[in-house]
Symmetry: C2
Subunit: 458 residues, 2 copies
């Protein structure tokens, strides 16, 4: 599919240069908004407004939503007031609200000046909710019915609503603004008697979120209930909007990407990789690298503290990387598992005893197996095959004992820290491999040298 | 929400013990299938069939789908043929196909013996598609219309279809089985003239997948097109099923979890954390720990090879953990970013030059900044504050030079390996932090000691 896009991008760029606009238009109307947005990404900036003007009104608006912020800004700067108004009229209020959030102040002013007063009111409504809340992602366009309307009145109300969106398939019944129930177009179409009040067939047992719920929780609800749309209510249970499944999908993807970025030791970014400049990547990555480098000072101090012992038994140095890596890997296994389980709502802080008990038993199994294999590896490979005589049975014992303790510590730290972070209101993903590796490194080196001092009488 | 569940679980368990079945039934019908499945998870196994029999037929089937395999198996063993048949009749063919895939052979036999012949045919149809393909996740229940049907005929065809699912809102138009177009219930309801043939209002420009497309690609399409349902066609473009948005959401979540598990150095598992036994976790984790521990032999060999140099300059040992960790973190930043971008379809192998160029420039920026800070840290803290006289300006220079090279190598390896893996048909997530750390450790130690030998004349 991507290969086709490249061929298509080249073809359209060439046709635009040759001013064969009608041909381009005929091609564009066979394509989907997401595909057209892909074409824009590949064009030179002076070609972007030309191509955009070739799109029919509705397709233009749908494509606009799918475009990258830089291209949107470029287009808005070039628009006359009337053509900007045309595009805005085709957009949903939540898309305009999103647009306003990503545009610089002068562009925002142009948008608000141009938008109709209805649109402006809906957008301001949405903008007052905190970032990443259900209120900020909901749409205010949906069908509202009264409990006493008959089924045929409901159907004609839908036909006349002019709501131009997939939200029409689930309608909500309110009384004085308060959410009372839900009815689907399917229920209305399949109802036996068209004169019954909708109250009789509505489903009054429905999941709703409040405007201030976190978007991640909202997305998790979609997964739990398999619904196409979830209503959003205010504190008085009045219906103020709905969140659609496609917005929830986007959020799930964003949140998973964000978690992975944080777990990989980066600040999360809303730009995708291709759009990120080298400087964006630098800013995302350097704070963590700096922090973790500085905290490695402690590990350095521990090694310096045991310099005499190390000088007496140089063979010990050779196992430092293996102990550190195994500790890091064991800790990261536990932390990734626990972080993901927290994200998916499977566990929370009060499950700490259960999680810790499970991780500790796993640690014993893993530590013991690793230790046995490591012992034979040290004796058979390092000592006999590679002929390193500094490696005595006692050295092997020190290494293997440290290994068990390291795995045990790593899995405890990896299980406890993410849960503790979530309890304290931090993102648990912060407590992932890079952070845990630093802690486990220091702990395992301490155990290693203390054990060596005792067993090897250094 | 979870707290409410715990209270509810306790209440229901107690009411069941007191045999207050009618009260339990009244509570259950106010709950959603996902919530009821949560209650089952908390019950003793002898209570499970009792509670299940209290559920009304449709709710029972919906709850059954949401239950864990162990509980499903337990229930099926206890079912009479007629009650199993009742549950199966309420399920969609794709749910039954999923069920068959997760049940042991004797249970599968019982299911197939009991299911009606229509159901058996649909299920077998679905089962012949490879795991994780579009064919294996599609449902075969959807509305099929002919191009010449009038709009009013279409509406009554939907009303009479008996298809009891949200798939009815998007209907597909086929001619001799071949997919011709799509029409939504909204289009039908809002159409001006009920006598027009549906051919006139259908959208013939639609995205479809084939039965053998990977489920991850299918989920990505949902994100690209914001559609509630995507049609699945065979090689002759005949429509054979549809994939619903809720199945796509589940897949996105599963795939993200799988990627994170692999990135954290674990084999992916389909069980959630709470359901995983200690032995499950052990089996998921030990192969990677073993492999990575054994490969650390190389790092050990490198250190052993430079034992004499290290003995002459013991201060060098103190910086080994910092260099290894910074290398590991830099590499993991790049690999996580690249792996996620591959998963989301943003980049592929042919983008390697672009990715590498971006990562290398970022590496230079990160490496240079780290190196400058590190130099001052070594001189001001390690040498002057902590009074470690072994740390000369030359030692600091060796460490900082190695740091730049390490970051450079780590970012190159972290960018190239995941893309190379995807090219060779492996899951790119395998090429993540643990694996890359092992490679980068060995490389950075080599650079460290070789630089030390030259600059410190060891």
């Amino acid at each position: 599919m991507r290969n086709q896009n490249i061929i298509m991008e080249r073809a359209i760029a060439r046709l635009l240069e040759e001013r064969k606009y009608l041909v381009v238009k005929d091609i564009l109307i066979t394509m989907l908004p997401g595909e057209i947005a892909g074409i824009f990404r590949a064009l030179k900036s002076e070609q972007i407004p030309v191509l955009f003007r070739l799109l029919p009104k509705e397709l233009a608006a749908k494509t606009f939503v799918k475009m990258d912020p830089e291209e949107k800004e470029l287009l808005i700067h070039g628009f006359s007031d009337s053509s900007l108004r045309e595009v805005l009229d085709e957009l949903y209020a939540d898309d305009v609200a999103d647009l306003i959030e990503e545009m610089p102040a002068n562009v925002v002013k142009k948008i608000l000046d141009t938008a109709g007063s209805d649109m402006r009111r809906s957008v301001n409504e949405l903008l007052k909710y905190p970032d990443n809340s259900a209120g900020s992602i909901m749409t205010t366009e949906f069908i509202r019915l009264a409990p006493d309307m008959s089924i045929s009145e409901c159907i004609s109300s839908i036909r006349n609503s002019g709501v131009n969106s997939d939200t029409i398939y689930t309608c909500f019944i309110t009384e004085n603004g308060v959410l009372k129930g839900r009815v689907t177009v399917k229920d209305l179409l399949l109802a036996a008697d068209d004169d019954l009040p909708v109250r009789n067939i509505m489903d009054s047992n429905i999941a709703a979120v409040t405007t201030l719920n976190d978007q991640e929780e909202v997305a998790a609800l979609f997964n739990e209930y398999d619904l196409p749309v979830i209503p959003v209510v205010d504190r008085e249970n009045r219906l103020v909007g709905v969140v659609m499944f496609d917005d929830a999908m986007e959020i799930m993807e964003e949140e998973a990407t964000e978690d992975m970025e944080i777990m990989g030791g980066m600040s999360p970014s809303e730009k995708n990789y291709i759009r990120s400049s080298v400087f964006d990547l630098f800013r995302q990555r350097i704070p963590w690298l700096m922090l973790l480098m500085i905290s490695a000072t402690f590990t350095g101090m521990i090694i310096t503290g045991f310099e005499t012992a190390l000088a007496a038994q140089v063979a010990l140095t050779a196992f430092i990387p293996m102990l550190m890596d195994t500790g890091g890997n064991s800790g990261s296994q536990s932390s990734v598992t626990v972080i993901r389980a927290i994200s998916l709502g499977e566990i929370k802080f009060s499950d700490l005893p259960m999680v810790l008990w499970k991780e500790l038993r796993t640690a014993v199994l893993c530590g013991a197996s690793l230790s046995v294999v490591c012992f034979f590896k040290i004796i058979l490979i390092d000592r006999m095959l590679l002929g390193n005589d500094g490696i005595t049975l006692t050295v092997a014992a020190v290494v293997c004992f440290t290994l068990i303790i390291t795995v045990f510590l790593a899995k405890s730290v990896g299980a406890v820290l993410p849960l503790a972070a979530s309890r304290m209101g931090f993102d648990p993903a912060v407590m992932s491999s890079p952070f845990i590796t630093t802690i486990v490194d220091a702990l395992s080196l301490l155990v290693y040298f203390e054990t060596a001092k005792i067993l090897l009488r250094l």
